[in-house]
Amino acid sequence: MVVKGLLYTKEHEWAKVDGDVAAIGITDHAQDQLGELTFIELPEVGKEVKQNGQLGAAESSKAASDVYSPVSGSITEVNEELKSKPELVNKDCYGAGWICKIRLTDKDSLKNLMDAGQYEEYLKGL
């Protein structure tokens, strides 16, 4: 499932931009590939991240995947609920399973991301 209005990376993260802040998560394809998630490593609030820099990690009992930042900026908020309920990422990866929010420092970098249509095409080619 791909949601319209979000921006996507080749590493299967999404960003939902609202003014200067972007909410970040992993895509349905990513959660499906990982299987039942048991642990989400969250970034630290206040930390600066570069586009494609490591944000955290998502782990199931059989697989682990690093989560990279779709945007450059500083972390303003993390989804604390994932600490005890990583399954929210499986159940609702574009909603309750968001990972963090980032205040954008370089809006130009958004141009490097795919829109929903492009991401859908990209998935077909995998």
């Binding site: 499906d32 590939q33 299987g35 039942e36 048991t38 642990f39 490591q54 009992s61 059989k62």
Partner: protein, 433 residues
Amino acid sequence: MAVRQDEGAFEFEAEVQPAKGTVLYGEHLKLTDKSHIAEFAGYLMPLWYSSISEEHSAVRQKAGVFDCTHMGILEVGGKEAESFLDAITTNNVSALQTSSAQYSYILDAAGNILDDIIIYRRDKDKFMVVVNAANEPKIKAYLSALLTGRYFTAEHAETAEKEQGKFFLKNWQEAVLIRDMRDTSSGPDCRVDIALQGPISLEVLSKLTDTPTIEKAEALKNFTFFETNFAGIDCIISRTGYTGAKVGFEIFVHPDKAVELWRRLIDAGAIPCGLGARDSLRIEAGLPLYGHELDGRYDISPIEAGYGWAVELEKEFFVGKSAVEKYAKSSDMKVARIELPGEKGVRPVRQNDGLIKQGVCIGWVLSSATVGNRQIALVYMEKGKVVEGDSIGVYYLARSESQKSKGRKENVRRGDRFEPDIEGKIISRFEKF
């Protein structure tokens, strides 16, 4: 770690070939998304259909069916079949009764494990040997090299020990015939493996067979089997498996009948299970996987893995015996099973994470799985340091650049000092369900 001699090691380089689907591949595509199918041992196999935890529970509470048609199945026949198998496997083949099966190992002359296998005695001079899919090309090459005298030549035999010499000088080719039971050249004798495992397996089977067959299946003891025909399907029904289920069968059928059997088992209530559940079930039961708890990075011997009973040192000769006798005594390590917290939100332990006792690394994690709200791991650790019930910790290795940059190590050695990240306890080596 076992100290091995290099002399006599069997060298084998497998040809890399594109992964292929099993005879049940079309069925898998109907039952799960293609994204849940992955390459395993040269085959495209389902990782899961619904989820690993649901399939795991199905096998513990009801019954699951597994595509094991990728497993290698070889027939060793001929008037010297028994003495040949006795000479090239570690367990006692001459003591194996017809209609019984035996867990065993194939070693090379250096004592390296080439595979762990199950030998089924179908008749006095007819054996079926089930080998790991990943090892099948190597085992076939090895057996062929032994039969044709290419592994050890007469020259080697002169310098080798007496019994070894006798073995390698013998002309096995005349009296031993090896067939690949999954190759079309075996015609109607072809067989592939489908496993049915879990407490209601007999009920499932009763929906597709007749009463005499089900009575025979019910009467089977562990590691025994019978050959039958039901509804036009010739098969071998064996009370064996790889899940730790007290009730479970492996059914060997002709590949042309595999789809039919698979569908009928599912229609009768068996839940299709993928490689993920197969792994979590065998880990929970304490069963070893070649390359993890046997051989592999830590070069683990059958004896360290807890299978000394399958290495018959009383036997006059088997390939690798003198090497085993040496390393059996020298090892100070063993495989154990531990449990750790595994609720949602707990970082899972992984292969090669450090095992910590009183701040010191005494071994490593080999395999692990989440089962309910626990993690069960098989570990390789120093003997005599801890016993069942004792607490044990695990140090997570770095799994990303950012963790490395924070000082987390990428590997740990015995004796290194670490504080554990998570603590659990040692539990019994094996468990039945």
